[in-house]
């Protein structure tokens, strides 16, 4: 990614950091990447910036074993085409899982990761990636409470 300079990285930084897109209040459609105009409503559209929930499902995926120069260090890595809850699709890496566990329809959620580092002490690019949804943490609170009760009972 050495072809582009610092301003180019910076220009779309907010959208990469926060998964921002466009929402049209006239027709209720969400877009990613952002658009200046709603292609359905044209002049009647009322578009505004929207931060997506970050939840979605894998529409398709691949496991890259031979990366481009910038990304080869990370290989093998999973690239997913992810359909967000709000409708639009994003292309992003899927991390925190084994490549063989990824499948079409898998639920994923957004996380914040390093995308790549420019060579020779250049800037670091951060942005969204996705990981499998794991809501199992919700059940921990019941366990923690029960353990605490048991401890208090002992003493």
């Amino acid at each position: 990614m050495s072809v582009s300079g610092v301003p180019r990285h910076w220009r779309s930084q907010r959208e990469r950091y926060r998964l921002l897109g466009t929402y049209c209040e006239n027709c209720g459609t969400s877009f990613f990447p952002r658009r200046k105009i709603c292609p359905k409503c044209r002049r009647k559209g009322r578009t505004r910036e929207v931060e997506f929930s970050g939840r979605g499902r894998v529409f398709s995926y691949t496991v890259i074993h031979v990366g481009s120069k910038t990304f080869d260090e990370y290989a093998p890595y999973v690239i997913g085409l992810i359909e967000l809850q709000e409708g639009p699709r994003v292309l992003s890496q899927i991390v925190d899982c084994k490549p063989e566990d990824v499948h079409i329809g898998m639920e994923v959620e957004v996380c914040f990761r390093k995308l790549f580092e420019q060579e020779d002490g250049g800037i670091i690019s951060y942005g969204f990636k996705f990981r499998p949804v794991d809501d199992s943490w919700v059940e921990y609170y019941g366990k923690l409470l029960a353990e605490k009760k048991a401890r208090t009972a002992q003493t």
Binding site: S12, R16, S60, G67, K69, F71, Y77, P88, L115
Partner: protein, 402 residues
């Protein structure tokens, strides 16, 4: 309102005259360590000029495809560069860029230049010098043909984007890797008969399935190579074609269409809509049906791309094309011979030259000059299909012997 991409209001598309290919030339595709971009362009150009029995000075306009002289060679402004090297100054020379469809797009432009009546002899070429950079660098340069900001930036590669199509296609239509491998096996078989092919070895399904994974589910032998090469065709008005050749090949239809650069905004990633659109227009212009076509050259940058192409061109319904491979119908001698020169997979892929190289093969076939046992019997009509990036540009050209 979306642009219709239609033709002019006149029923004959506003064109003044019919156009024919009167001569062709092509280098071998492969690793040309001792030849640079100019050398390759020269080699293909001279062949065509000699075949037509003309002097280079007879050429009135040069238009050729080159994807990225700038990134592969650090050299832009290659239009004038090539014209000068061929000793053709001050002939106007234009380099066009549409990623891997650069050659096809150049042909479309050259066609318009002759059909419009502006020029009577036009050289259409394509050239790419790719092996001067390391493979990792080449992967990065080719990824510039995708959406940089929202695909390449996140680590997507070119094989990766086609792999996304393949994964979904397999899921939706039940294509198996063994069947996909047959695309490469067939193309290597054809390539083995083509002296200009990058690879001339035959290959088995097992060879494909045991090659290393590049981007799951695509393996190395599902992917075309990175090649150096050039190709050239000369165009003239049909009614003047006899001055150059006894076997002019007529351009019956040619159309170009565009689509999103990224996969993100395509609802159906198993269809290349630009191919669908270009094919509809080219067939309408040629006033021909799919069944009239005797052979096709399709853009098989990856095995899955060949399957998608046959469907998007209208030869098969969606989800059906791979069945032709189970039955061996795409070999020379089959119901629909596909990529008789080995395609991109075995024939090689010098990105900017590929669209023109496909036309060279069709011309040879229609003239009955295809060597090595790959000649399709009584081939009268051939179709070439050239794609840029992951389908943002497609050019479909239909050529006929009569």
């Amino acid at each position: 309102m979306r642009g219709t991409g239609g033709f002019s209001k006149r029923g004959d598309h506003g064109l003044k005259r019919e156009v024919a290919i009167v001569a062709v030339g092509a280098t071998r595709f492969g690793e040309h360590w001792s030849k640079g971009l100019k050398d390759l362009a020269w080699e293909a150009g001279v062949q065509a000029v000699e075949e037509a029995g003309i002097s280079g000075k007879d050429i009135q306009y040069i238009v050729f495809g080159n994807m990225s002289g700038g990134m592969f060679e650090g050299q832009e402004h290659v239009g004038a560069l090539v014209a000068d090297f061929l000793g053709l100054n001050p002939v106007p020379a234009t380099r066009v860029e549409a990623a891997c469809a650069s050659g096809g797009v150049a042909f479309f432009q050259g066609y318009l230049a002759v059909a419009s009546g502006m020029y009577d002899l036009v050289a259409v070429g394509g050239v790419e010098k790719m092996t001067d950079v390391e493979p990792g660098q080449a992967t990065e340069i080719l990824s510039a043909a995708m959406d940089y900001e929202w695909e390449a930036y996140f680590g997507a590669t070119f094989p990766g984007v086609y792999a996304l199509m393949a994964t979904r296609y397999m899921h939706d239509y039940g294509l198996k890797p063994e069947t996909l491998a047959k695309v490469a096996v067939k193309n290597h078989y054809h390539g083995s008969m083509n002296p200009l092919a990058h690879f001339r070895n035959r290959m088995t399904v097992e060879d494909v399935l045991s090659s290393p994974i590049v981007a799951h589910p695509l393996r190395r032998n599902d992917c075309c190579p990175v090649s150096d090469g050039a190709a050239c065709v000369l165009l003239a008005p049909l009614d003047e074609a006899h001055k150059y050749t006894d076997t002019p090949i007529i351009v019956k239809g040619v159309a170009q269409a565009s689509d999103t650069l990224s996969l993100l905004e395509r609802r159906d990633i198993c269809t290349l809509n630009a191919t669908v659109q270009a094919a509809e227009k080219a067939f309408a212009m040629a006033k021909l049906a799919r069944r009239d076509v005797d052979l096709v050259e399709v853009h098989d940058c990856f095995t899955i791309a060949e399957i998608l192409a046959l469907e998007d061109l209208g030869f098969c319904a969606k989800g059906e094309a791979f069945k032709l491979y189970e039955e061996g119908e795409t070999y020379v001698g089959g119901r629909l011979p596909v990529n008789t020169d080995g395609g991109l997979k075995a024939g090689g892929h010098a990105v900017g030259a590929t669209g023109v190289k496909q036309l060279v093969e069709i011309v040879k076939q229609l003239r009955g000059e295809a060597e090595g046992g790959r000649q399709v019997d009584e081939a009268e009509i051939g179709l070439a299909h050239n794609v840029g990036g992951s389908g943002a540009t497609a050019v479909v050209t239909i050529l006929s012997r009569r």
